[in-house]
């Protein structure tokens, strides 16, 4: 079965291998200067004692490669469509699986070997991309402290592997259910985008209870390190949380419309509001939770993938060929 899987997939394997090699060459070639620049910037600022003001004054890397790095967010979906969707569907629509299913191996073994190899190749490919991207983004994350932000977190470390395992499993299950390659590819893409969006927007912020920091209206405070800020605003004296909706502001977190009658027209509006009981707040996931979140999220997607693979097994062993 391994031989047949290899024989069938060697074109895709060559394609994936080629793309990975190209990406690796590009990122290594551009990443080495970025790392060098980062080291010289650090050395300079340490000598001059200006390291605190580095963010915003230094630009690392290049926009074009930075865009390519952001685009790797699509790698799991592409692998799911390229490797996962045709796995059952192609052989079903060409009825070639009747040949495979009347040889001396059971359908379960047929699926186990094929799915096993393809999931492994998908996971390894995603791990390679993720390792390159994590390394490439390292200096920039250190500079700007945003490794935990939603647009960075999704590209780095172990979650891309989880996404890929899920996307490939989704492709396999979709192919087993609809038995045609093109619809299976479509379902894989749509399903992947929907699940990723729902988890990222509505589930991920609640993996662990967020921390809320309350501080004076006149003060300023930012969560330390690579924290993920979920919300910021003002707490009214009654306890209501107010967040900015438009730009008509008195201060970064204070809208002009919230200013009470008594404080209007005063020169020191914020001091007046502070005395009246207004406070600022920041709700965030601390940067120290980066790895717990990586593991929770990756584990969640791997569990989804396991369920989808179970569906594929149930479908091929129960349905007629």
């Amino acid at each position: 079965m391994t031989w047949l899987t290899w024989r069938q997939y060697r074109l895709q394997a060559a394609l994936v291998g080629g793309l990975l090699a190209a990406l690796a060459a590009l990122l290594v070639a551009t990443g080495i200067p970025v790392a060098a620049q980062w080291h010289s910037v650090l050395a300079d600022c340490a000598a001059q004692g200006t390291c605190g003001s580095l963010p915003g004054t230094v630009f690392l890397g290049s926009h074009a490669i930075g865009f390519l790095v952001i685009m790797t967010i699509g790698v799991p979906a592409v692998l799911g469509m390229l490797l996962g969707a045709p796995l059952v569907a192609y052989e079903a629509e060409t009825s070639a699986r009747v040949f495979a299913w009347t040889q001396g191996v059971t359908r379960r073994r047929w699926l186990a070997v094929k799915a096993g190899w393809v999931l492994l190749v998908g996971a390894v490919s995603a791990a390679v991309v993720s390792a390159l991207v994590t390394w490439w983004l390292g200096p920039d994350n250190a500079l700007n402290g945003d490794a935990f932000s939603a647009s960075r977190f999704d590209l780095m470390d172990i979650v891309p592997v989880g996404y890929t395992v899920f996307a490939v499993a989704l492709g396999i299950a979709a192919g087993a259910l609809v038995r045609r390659t093109v619809p299976a590819i479509g379902i894989t893409l749509a399903g992947f985008v929907v699940v990723r969006s729902v988890i990222t927007l509505w589930v991920r912020p609640h993996f662990m209870t967020a921390v809320t920091h309350v501080y004076a209206l006149t003060g300023s405070w930012a969560p330390p390190g690579s924290a993920w800020q979920l919300a910021a605003g003002t707490i009214a004296p009654g306890g209501a949380r107010l967040t900015m909706l438009d730009g008509a502001d008195v201060a970064p977190n204070v809208s002009a419309s919230w200013v009470p009658q008594a404080c209007q027209g005063l020169g020191r509006v914020l001091t007046c509001m502070q005395s009246a009981g207004f406070r600022q707040f920041v709700t965030y996931q601390p940067g120290s939770r980066f790895w717990p979140f990586q593991f929770i999220e990756a584990g969640f997607y791997v569990a989804l993938a396991a369920a989808l693979i179970a569906v594929a097994f149930a479908v091929i062993s129960r349905r007629d060929a």
Partner: protein, 347 residues
């Protein structure tokens, strides 16, 4: 409607195959495998010498039945023809026997056990579907190599030799081969498994007359080589072909079994009556009339042989296989076919 299942059969025709093996393990070469534990259902009635035995086997798709209540029995070591009009359920029956499809009712015993997902069972079944399913982008050689890795018992060398002799390129993607060449690849792969039961679904439909003849001689040669360890079920519309190679017959029409039995027995059991046109009611009182066709002057009846015929107005003749098949198919055919004569030459 079942015919006799063939005890006391006469000698086979073209097949140089010793028929009756010892029950259980056939003496054929290259069949070292099962039945292992659980495969040979030990039960009464000499099940071991049946390659196929089904009981009220039924397959429904939604409300329509592709096969209903089909009870057949095929002894080991036979070449069995499977005939019937399009849509009669021939492919469904074969797919049920391979285990590719599951019955919605009844049961099947194939080589002593139910069709199942088990390497030992799968190794014993060779199957060639009507559309010759193969990996279109892979070559015949790739398939032979794949077969060697997917089967414990595999004779790739003979498949290569056969295809080379036929001039079928081994290194070209099978999707680029002609329909006939693909059918040859499919048959070679099915034979390379050295199966104990070979199920062929209209394998000759894509072949020219010469290739058809070669194909049939290949199957009979495989039978001879297997020395009784091989049973073949072959569906076809070419009754002349079946007559040449088969010694057993299954006839399906309208998703139901019409006939199943040893061909010589079936022929001996039926009779053609030709006589002046009149109501066949008198004959029907004493005999089962399978099919009656009438011209303005004469009536032709295909009947089951029974008590001696009383009416001397009828002339009785032996029946040919084609006449027998057409009579049963005609009896189940739509009205538009009802006036077609099924006996003798078409005028």
């Amino acid at each position: 409607m079942n015919g006799p299942d063939g005890s006391g059969r006469p000698e086979p025709r073209l097949t140089a195959v010793p028929r009756e093996n010892a029950p259980g393990e056939p003496a054929g070469a290259g069949t070292p495998g099962p039945p292992g534990p659980g495969t040979g259902t030990p039960s009464a009635g000499g099940r071991e010498h049946r390659a196929i035995e089904t009981t009220r086997l039924t397959k429904r798709y939604g409300r329509s039945a592709a096969l209903s209540d089909c009870s057949i029995s095929v002894p080991r070591g036979r070449i069995c023809g499977l005939v019937g009009p399009n849509g009669a359920g021939k492919s469904t029956l074969l797919r049920l026997l391979t285990g590719l499809a599951r019955p919605t009712g009844g049961s099947a015993l194939v080589l002593g056990g139910a069709p199942r997902q088990d390497p030992a069972f799968l190794a014993d079944i060779g199957y060639l579907a009507q559309d010759v399913p193969l990996y279109r982008r892979l070559s015949a050689e790739d398939h032979i190599l794949a077969g060697a890795r997917l089967n414990k018992r595999w004779d790739g060398a003979s498949a290569r030799t056969r295809l080379r002799e036929l001039g079928v390129p081994l290194d070209r993607a099978v999707g680029t081969l002609s329909g006939g060449q693909r059918a040859q690849v499919g048959l070679s792969l099915a034979l390379a498994k050295r199966p104990r039961l070979l199920l062929l679904d209209e394998p000759v439909a894509a072949l020219d007359p010469l290739a058809r003849r070669h194909f049939l001689s290949t199957t009979t040669a495989a039978m001879a080589e297997a020395e009784g360890g091989l049973t073949i079920v072959l569906s076809s519309h070419q009754i002349a072909d079946l007559e040449r190679v088969c010694d057993h017959l299954i006839l399906l029409a309208k998703s139901q079994l019409q006939l199943c039995g040893d061909i010589d027995d079936l022929l001996a059991d039926h009779l053609v009556l030709v006589g002046p046109r009149k109501d066949p009611a008198a004959v029907e009182r004493t005999h089962t009339v399978v099919h009656a066709t009438h011209t303005p002057r004469q009536s032709t009846l295909v009947i089951k042989r029974g008590s001696p015929l009383i009416d001397p107005a009828y002339q009785s003749e032996d029946i040919s296989l084609e006449e027998l098949v057409l009579a049963y198919m005609g009896a189940a055919a739509p009205a538009a076919y009802s006036r077609l004569s099924t006996v003798g030459e078409e005028q």
